[in-house]
Amino acid sequence: MQKVLIIGATSAIAEATARLWAARGATLFLVGRRPERLEVIASDLRVRGAVSVSCFTMDACNIAAHTAMIEAVDASMGELDIALIAHGSLPDQKACESSVELTLNEMNTNGLSVIALLTQLGNRFAAQGKGSLAVISSVAGDRGRQSNYVYGAAKGMVSLFLQGLRNRLAKLGVQVLTIKPGFVDTPMTVAFKKGALWAKPEVIAQGIVWAIDKKRDVVYLPGFWWLIMTIIRHIPERVFKKLSL
């Protein structure tokens, strides 16, 4: 029976992933900002087969609250098998360009708050000497593009931090998984026109569960994004800067 902590549990990808773990009979600890939404999701996961589901209300950007959350996880579950960090927001790039405050807020939500959580959870998993620490980064973190480099920079920071953390924790028997979804059809992206590159959260969720089971390090979801991003990363900067991506 897996014991799973999910931060940002009301996000569409996190909820779809939690359903797969619930069907396996996991024990779940859900963290999110809106207690009433957490309760709706918790009831659903219980019906789907979760042995128990606890909820904890926290804004991940409130870094002072992280310690209390981790203590509550300790009291509720003890050792963790999996922690999934899934919270985030999709900034309005244009608005960020004319607002320092907005840009830094987005950096905080998508970058710094994750790093704060990883610092504490990393030590916890190090002490356990086992378990999986999985974080939803993004393909956007692989290269800065004019259309969303604030989001991309925050996710890039997370990906790089995870790379270092993996280097440190691998020797202790802890899996650190960087999840890089492409375009996902969720409430976060409701304003976008959807095409062939878009995936459903259920597809991403299956990939996450698979990558954790297989002890992978970095996973692009769906897998074809590996190819797309490899090409994008290899375009010379003097050419890339002239493109409108």
């Binding site: 069907a23 709706v40 009831s43 659903d44 019906v47 789907r48």
Partner: protein
């Protein structure tokens, strides 16, 4: 890509398609009218709202509670029947009534008051609905059941989504001994043989249905009866479906291919008795996603009618009209309805015999045939199934649904559909 119904007949798109993901949130404040859109499996225009708003309900896909002793399930209205099966079949529970596809939302199943191969014993889907919450455009929420707000319940079951939005529903699942269905197949020639087989089978079996070849000179077919069997591992769920990836410019289903299919289907080696998985028994077409694309860009019609028991003779006339038109359908499903009363004011089933047929849209010749069939169905006191319909005349609908006047006051003033505008005004 604009939303369509399952028949893929050309239609004007909706102007706005917001999603509802939270059952406690209010309905969106929209210009013009509103209609819930679940998984788009109704065939005609009951799920369309051209030039107005379609409210996606698939975001309401959470379970709320389940009683492991009684089998009572409460869930949000956008949950698919396939999702209920995936979660509860492994625990030994099954839908009390299931239509011919499992890819419909539970809200849609109630709004169309769908039926199954067990209608003679179990009645419609609505007979197994314990209660639901109905959200109206004035913001009011009502718990409706056969005992509480019973008139709202009767209007909403089979109410084609016109009475407001069901946010959550409560249904009773039933115990099964395994995932297998013990199925018996019998070939028959002529309707007399069908009725004789059917009378015998309904007394003995939970599920009965017949496939008929209406292109043959004399109607012939295969009668299928089934019961849940103790065989079948509960963990064995249907395999991933194939997908028909594109819409060909022309229908691949025509007189030649249908005749060839029917000949092979009728003559194929048929085990008299076998245990098969429930999925191919109940959902033979769910194995190919988007099979509706086979009918090409012009789409197709399904024509499903019921004739009262007293008017069985008319069935012969109808089959003869179809055979002479040369427009037959390769999927023709024949079934008798039992006497259990349908709970909805606009529920389709009544005691009698129902036949469902698919026709490629060939324009005027197809519509002319339907008019001819309507005349026979109407003269016999029968009616058409709104969930399948895209073209019936408003007069015919109003005459054949005698509780319509009782229903109309329950229509939400903000809700409408292409179907409602076509047949109610």
């Amino acid at each position: 890509m604009p939303l369509n119904s399952w028949g893929q007949l050309p239609s004007q798109p909706a102007v706005d398609e917001p999603w509802l993901n939270d059952r406690t949130s209010a309905l969106p404040d929209v210009q013009g009218s509103l209609l819930a859109y679940g998984n788009g499996r109704s065939y005609g225009d009951v799920c369309l709202n051209s030039g107005a708003t379609l409210l996606h309900t698939r975001g309401l896909d959470r379970f709320i509670s389940f009683d492991e002793v009684s089998g009572i399930l409460r869930c949000e209205a956008g949950v698919l029947l396939s999702e209920i099966l995936e979660t509860f079949v492994p625990r030994g529970w099954f839908l009390p009534v299931t239509p011919g596809t499992r890819f419909v939302t539970v809200g849609g199943a109630i709004a169309c008051d769908v039926h199954s191969k067990n209608h003679h014993g179990a009645g419609t889907f609505g007979c197994h609905v314990r209660c639901f919450e109905l959200l109206r455009s004035d913001g009011s929420r009502r718990i409706c059941s056969p005992f509480e707000n019973a008139n709202w319940f009767a209007a909403t079951v089979g109410g084609l989504g016109l009475t407001g939005l069901m946010t959550w529903v409560e249904i009773g699942l039933k115990r099964i001994p395994g995932t297998g269905i013990s199925a018996e197949n019998t070939r028959f020639a002529g309707l007399d043989e069908f009725f004789a087989l059917n009378a015998e089978a309904e007394a003995k079996h939970e599920y009965t249905v017949a496939w008929i070849d209406c292109l043959a000179a004399k109607p012939r077919g295969i009668f299928m009866a089934g019961d849940h069997a103790a065989q079948g591992d509960f963990s064995a769920m249907p395999k991933k479906a194939l997908n028909f990836p594109l819409t060909p410019p022309l229908s691949l289903i025509n007189g030649y291919s249908s005749r060839a299919f029917n000949q092979v289907y009728y003559k194929r080696p048929l085990p008299a008795k076998q245990v098969i998985h429930f999925a191919p028994f109940f959902y033979p077409l769910d194995g190919v996603l988007h099979w509706n694309r086979l009918y090409g860009r012009r789409g197709f019609f399904q024509y499903q009618f019921v004739l009262p028991m007293a008017a069985m003779a008319a069935l012969d006339d109808i089959l003869r009209s179809i055979a002479t038109s040369g427009q037959g359908s390769f999927l023709a499903v024949l079934k008798t309805f039992g006497s259990m009363p349908s709970p909805g004011m606009l529920s389709f089933p009544m005691p009698g015999v129902t036949l469902a047929l698919d026709f490629p849209n060939r324009g005027a010749p197809t519509l002319t045939l339907f008019d001819r069939l309507d005349a026979i169905v109407s003269a016999s006191g029968g009616r058409l199934y709104a969930a399948k319909d895209a073209r019936m005349d408003g007069d015919f609908f109003r005459r054949s649904y005698p509780r319509l006047n009782e229903f109309v006051p329950f229509i939400d003033p903000k809700f409408s559909s292409n179907f409602a505008r076509r047949v109610l005004t």
